[in-house]
Every structure is written in structure tokens, then in C-alpha cells.
């Protein structure tokens, strides 16, 4: 069971003179939901990241090629019932303001399950809210009275309540402070590891990639220019420099030390502790 794209292109119709404006070109891609991946998609603004994920749940239809989502085919040639696809592949946009509208938090989270005609919607909503860490006393508050971080959680619960298999996030950490960002990432890792959801995460933030990703896609000008693990990505100097990616800070720091002190260090460490241990090893221990 998976999402797979074969020869998918997407273009906005432009004037007859300039021809279609391609955002994505001939994309082949498979996402196996059995693997429980935490996939991050990186690339410059305008590289087609948002367009790509919107193809995954039928918000956009490919101009050519086929998108197969759990054996339902989305293509420009035929019409498909998109609702079932969207129930299984949920997308959370950057700002919670795009979706919150109900009088109370609980009602807002119930909106999704109700639309999909699911049963027991109130309990579903409550479970979803609890799993994103919204406590019961907030259930009857207005979603607009919450803090920024809480609003994002409620927005995520609003998708989670329909129990999708895949959760897509379009730059959810933008504008959050370090603590808010860390909490959100912890939540997503929990959803990934404990609740077995496949996470697809668009970001510009290499620290997020370093912390959480098990698979990384790099989009460059409408093409997938890299598909692999974060380790493979950061070790691939050509891809890093071609896309002017900023390496995660621990790698940058170790690289500096390696070059300036001429040490034999494996610089590809993703947190401070691992970086320290490697440094200790390379320096030959304590005085």
C-alpha cells in the first residue's frame, strides 16, 4: 500500500505564447507507507515542494502522468472520488488560521470526521486532541483564544481525528520559537514512531532534517534531485553545494574543527552529545 507517482508533470496554463509553465517535470516516486518513514522534502522556494505534496491527496491533479494513492488513480484523464484519498492522506497547512473556524476546539476537530461520515466522532476528536497534548479544559474554548503553538496542535488534531495513514505538513515550524518548534517536532516523532503514521514534512530547516528525517527528498526546479537518507544527503557534497543547502550546525562545527585542527573526525553527527563523543575520541580523551 503506497503513494506512487509515475511520469507525473504539473504545469500552470500560461498564455499561448509562452506555453505551459512547468512546476514539476516527469516525477517518478514511491512512498511505501509500510515503512513508516519520516520524510522531509527540501528545496528552494518555487522548487515545487508544495505542488508535489498537493498531488499526494488530490488537491491538485497532474497535467500528465498518474498518481496512485492506495490503489486509487488520480490523473487528468478520469475523475476519481477524492474524498476517500483525502481521508487517508491528510495535509496540514503552514498556518492554523487557514482551517480553524468553529466556536469550540472540540467542534472544530470534529469537522473532519463528520465530513468523512465516520462514526463516534466526538470520541475520535477527543482522542486526537489528547494525542497532540491539548488538555480537556481547552476543549470548549474558542480556537482563536489559544496560543500560536496550541492552535497548530488543534489544526493537526483536526486532520488526525479522521485517522489518516499519511500526514503531510507544509512548513509547520515557520514562526515558532525554539521551544514551540521542539515540542512540535517531538509530537510528530511520536505520531511517526508510536502511532505508525507516515510523516511527510516540507521544511527549509536543516536542523529538522538532522533531528527527525529517515528519508530526504530534494526538489530542484521541478525535479527530484536527491532521494535517500539524511546521512547520504549530507555526505554528498555535490548535492549540498548545488542546492546551496546549509549543513546542520553540528556538522558545520565539526567540519570547522576538523579543518582548523587537522583532526581525523567523522563530522556527520546530528546532535551535540554525539558530536562531543566524536570530538573526545579524536582528541584522544581527557588530559
Amino acid at each position: 500500500m503506497a503513494i506512487s507517482l509515475s511520469k507525473v508533470s504539473f504545469a500552470y496554463e500560461k498564455s499561448r505564447k509562452t506555453g505551459p509553465l512547468y512546476v514539476l517535470k516527469d516525477i517518478d516516486l514511491t512512498i511505501d507507507t509500510e515503512k513508516n518513514d519520516f520524510i522531509t522534502i527540501i528545496g528552494h522556494t518555487g522548487s515545487g515542494k508544495s505542488t508535489l505534496v498537493q498531488l499526494f491527496n488530490g488537491l491538485l491533479t497532474p497535467s500528465s502522468g498518474e498518481v496512485n494513492v492506495f490503489n486509487k488513480i488520480i490523473s487528468s484523464k478520469k475523475k476519481t472520488k477524492l474524498k476517500e484519498i483525502r481521508k487517508r492522506v491528510g495535509l496540514v497547512f503552514q498556518f492554523p488560521e487557514y482551517q480553524l473556524f468553529e466556536e469550540t476546539v472540540l467542534k472544530d476537530v470534529m469537522f473532519g470526521p463528520k465530513n468523512y461520515g465516520l462514526d463516534d466522532i466526538e470520541n475520535r476528536a477527543k482522542r486526537a486532541l489528547q494525542s497532540v497534548g491539548i488538555s480537556e479544559e481547552l476543549f470548549n474554548e474558542s480556537p482563536f483564544s489559544l496560543s500560536g503553538g496550541q492552535m497548530r496542535r488543534v489544526a493537526i488534531a483536526g486532520i488526525l481525528a479522521s485517522s489518516p495513514d499519511v500526514l503531510i505538513f507544509d512548513e509547520p515550524t515557520v514562526g515558532l520559537d525554539p521551544k514551540g518548534k521542539k515540542e512540535l517536532l517531538d509530537l510528530l516523532e511520536k505520531l511517526n514512531k508510536v502511532d505508525n503514521k507516515t510523516i511527510i514534512f516540507i521544511t527549509h530547516d536543516m536542523e529538522v532534517v538532522a533531528k527527525a528525517a529517515t528519508r530526504v527528498l530534494v526538489l530542484d526546479n521541478g525535479n527530484i534531485s536527491f532521494d535517500g537518507t539524511k546521512d547520504e544527503l549530507f555526505r554528498n557534497e555535490k548535492i549540498v553545494s548545488d542546492n546551496s543547502l546549509i549543513l546542520p550546525s553540528t556538522i558545520r562545527i565539526l567540519k570547522d574543527i576538523k579543518e582548523k585542527l587537522n583532526l581525523d573526525i567523522d563530522i556527520y553527527k546530528y546532535n551535540v552529545n554525539d558530536a562531543y563523543l566524536e570530538l573526545e575520541r579524536a582528541l584522544g580523551g581527557q588530559k
Partner: protein
């Protein structure tokens, strides 16, 4: 990133009309419209139309753009024409048609109406043409068939006056459409806004705050494309939660519409709030004297157009007075 949304219908080219001072254009269009109403002579009207076509050709804007605006008004044009023909009865009688109103005819009309209401949404092309043919066939039927329980016979008389007046009014509406399209196609919304600000300055005398109105206009022009992009995202965010705008009971549909409107307001409000801060921080005080980066300066050709305008209105009044006596 959803293609580029262009607000207004401005068509970029570099004709002399594009380069005219927007104040001149605005004033001339208003004047031209007044002339169209002053003159009640079909030959003068045809003259105006001919003149308009010359303007359109020299504006280097494709004629299709103009046709689009006329197309939107087709229905109104046809209706006006028919009403004029039916209800005006001066001049000589040209034709007289007798129609037989029967029970059967009424039945057919009702049936056709129901069919139209049910199936018109499936007609993709030439919808208006189909409607005209349907309406026409109803009258043709009544003209030729007189069995099926005759109620009454009525007649429609076509007089030369009605025909003349009908075509006169239709041509006048077309001329109005063409001249206003010429203005909006050759002038950007911003230019128009600037022209308005300068020209309406005199309203200050009546304590109307023109500068505030035009500032509102220019902010609207700036933010409409942004808000259109936002509404697209809201639509997608709710679609991701299973919101399907094409199905559901009436009460569910209401809910779905609310799910779009509330976020739209929240976002627009937040933007407005931020923008107000940004404007205030940069020293904007409503209705205080401001300079303008847009300097509108009349050049020779602008004066020539003004002179022409004066000539035109004088000629119109002359014609009007001559024919009145």
C-alpha cells in the same frame, strides 16, 4: 504559487492612448458618455461608433478583449431591443403578427420552462443561442397553430419608430461598453486611482476625505491578489478535512461555506491589523497632506485631447439645439 493573478483587465501595450494622462482619459470618457446621451440622432451615434473604432484600432488592443465585455451583456441587449419593438408604436406600421394563445400553447410553454430549468446546466456551449431558439419557437408555434382551446388572439405590431429606437438604444449601450472598456484596458487601476485622487480634490470643499478613499482603493488593489491566493489555500485546507463543496445536505453546505468564510475573515483581519501598524510606523496619518511619487504632468497631446473634447461637446449641443427646433 498559483500562476499570476492580475487585477483589472489592463492590457499592456504602448499606444498613444496608453500614454495619455489618466486624468485626460477619465475626463474624456465621462464627456463622451454624456455626449452619447445628449445626442438623439442615429447618424450622429453611428458617427460616434465609427470614431470609437478608430480609437480602438489605434490603441493596439486586440478586438477580442472588447467583444468579451459586450458578450457579457448580450442578454440585456437582446431584451432591450425586443421590449422597444413591442412597446413603441410611433412611426409607420411595418408588420403586424397575430398570435393564437391556446391552452396547449401555455402547456408547452410551462413544459419548456421546466425542461430548461432542469437541463440548462448540462448545456455547455451556446447556451444563450439555445434559449433564443426555444423562445422563438414558442412564438412561431403560436403564430401558425390555432387549435388546442383558443383563449384569445393577441397581436404584436412592429412600427418603424420601435425598430429605430430599439437599434438606437442597443447601439448606445454598445458604445458605452466599448468606451469604458477602452479606459480600463489602457489604464492600470493604480493610474486610475491616482487620476481620481487628483480630480476629486475639489470634493474637500464638501468635507469629503478623498485622500482616505483613494488610499483605501490602492490598498485594496494591493491586497486583492494576496487574498485570492489565501482563499485558495483555505479551500485546500478544508478540502483536506473532507469538505466537499459539491455534495451534502443544505445544512451541511451552510457549514462548509462558514468553514471558508471564518478563516477568510480571520486572515484578512490579521493582515489589516499588521498593515495598519506598518503604515502608522512609517508616519501615515489619515488625511494629512502627503506628497506623491506619481507626478501627473500634462503634455501637448493631453491639451489637444481636452480641446477636442470641448469641440465635441459643443458640436453635440449644437446638433441637439438645431434638431430641437
Amino acid at each position: 504559487m498559483n500562476g499570476k493573478i492580475v487585477f483589472g483587465q489592463y492590457y499592456n501595450s504602448n499606444s498613444w492612448i496608453h500614454r495619455l494622462d489618466p486624468r485626460v482619459k477619465l475626463a474624456s470618457v465621462l464627456l463622451f458618455m454624456i455626449c452619447l446621451f445628449v445626442v438623439e440622432n442615429i447618424y450622429c451615434l453611428l458617427g460616434f461608433l465609427g470614431f470609437l473604432f478608430i480609437l480602438i484600432i489605434t490603441s493596439k488592443i486586440p478586438f477580442v478583449k472588447f467583444l468579451n465585455s459586450i458578450k457579457m451583456m448580450t442578454f440585456v441587449l437582446i431584451l432591450t431591443f425586443i421590449l422597444q419593438i413591442i412597446f413603441r408604436n410611433d412611426g409607420e406600421l411595418l408588420y403586424s403578427f397575430n398570435f393564437n394563445l391556446t391552452y396547449l400553447a401555455i402547456g408547452i410553454m410551462v413544459a419548456l420552462l421546466i425542461l430548461w430549468l432542469l437541463f440548462s446546466k448540462y448545456i455547455k456551449y451556446l447556451k444563450n443561442l439555445v434559449l433564443i431558439i426555444l423562445v422563438a419557437s414558442v412564438f412561431i408555434y403560436q403564430y401558425y397553430v390555432n387549435f388546442g382551446g383558443l383563449i384569445t388572439i393577441y397581436n404584436i405590431d412592429i412600427y418603424s419608430g420601435g425598430l429605430l429606437m430599439g437599434s438606437y438604444i442597443v447601439l448606445r449601450i454598445i458604445a458605452l461598453l466599448l468606451i469604458s472598456s477602452l479606459l480600463t484596458l489602457s489604464t492600470t487601476p493604480t493610474e486610475l486611482n491616482n487620476a481620481l485622487e487628483k480630480m476629486l480634490g475639489f470634493l474637500k470643499v464638501f468635507k469629503i476625505k478623498v485622500s482616505i478613499l483613494t488610499m483605501m482603493m490602492s490598498i485594496a488593489l494591493r491586497f486583492i491578489p494576496t487574498l485570492i491566493n489565501e482563499s485558495d489555500k483555505i479551500l485546500k485546507a478544508q478540502a483536506s478535512r473532507g469538505c466537499d463543496f459539491n455534495e451534502g445536505k443544505f445544512s451541511e453546505r451552510i457549514k462548509q461555506i462558514i468553514s471558508l468564510i471564518v478563516p477568510m475573515f480571520v486572515i484578512a483581519y490579521k493582515r489589516a491589523y499588521d498593515l495598519a501598524d506598518a503604515m502608522e510606523a512609517r508616519g501615515y496619518v489619515p488625511d494629512r497632506k502627503r506628497s506623491s511619487i506619481y507626478v501627473l504632468k500634462y503634455r501637448l497631446k493631453d491639451y489637444l485631447v481636452y480641446a477636442f473634447d470641448l469641440g465635441l461637446i459643443a458640436a453635440c449641443i449644437f446638433v441637439k439645439v438645431r434638431y430641437a427646433f
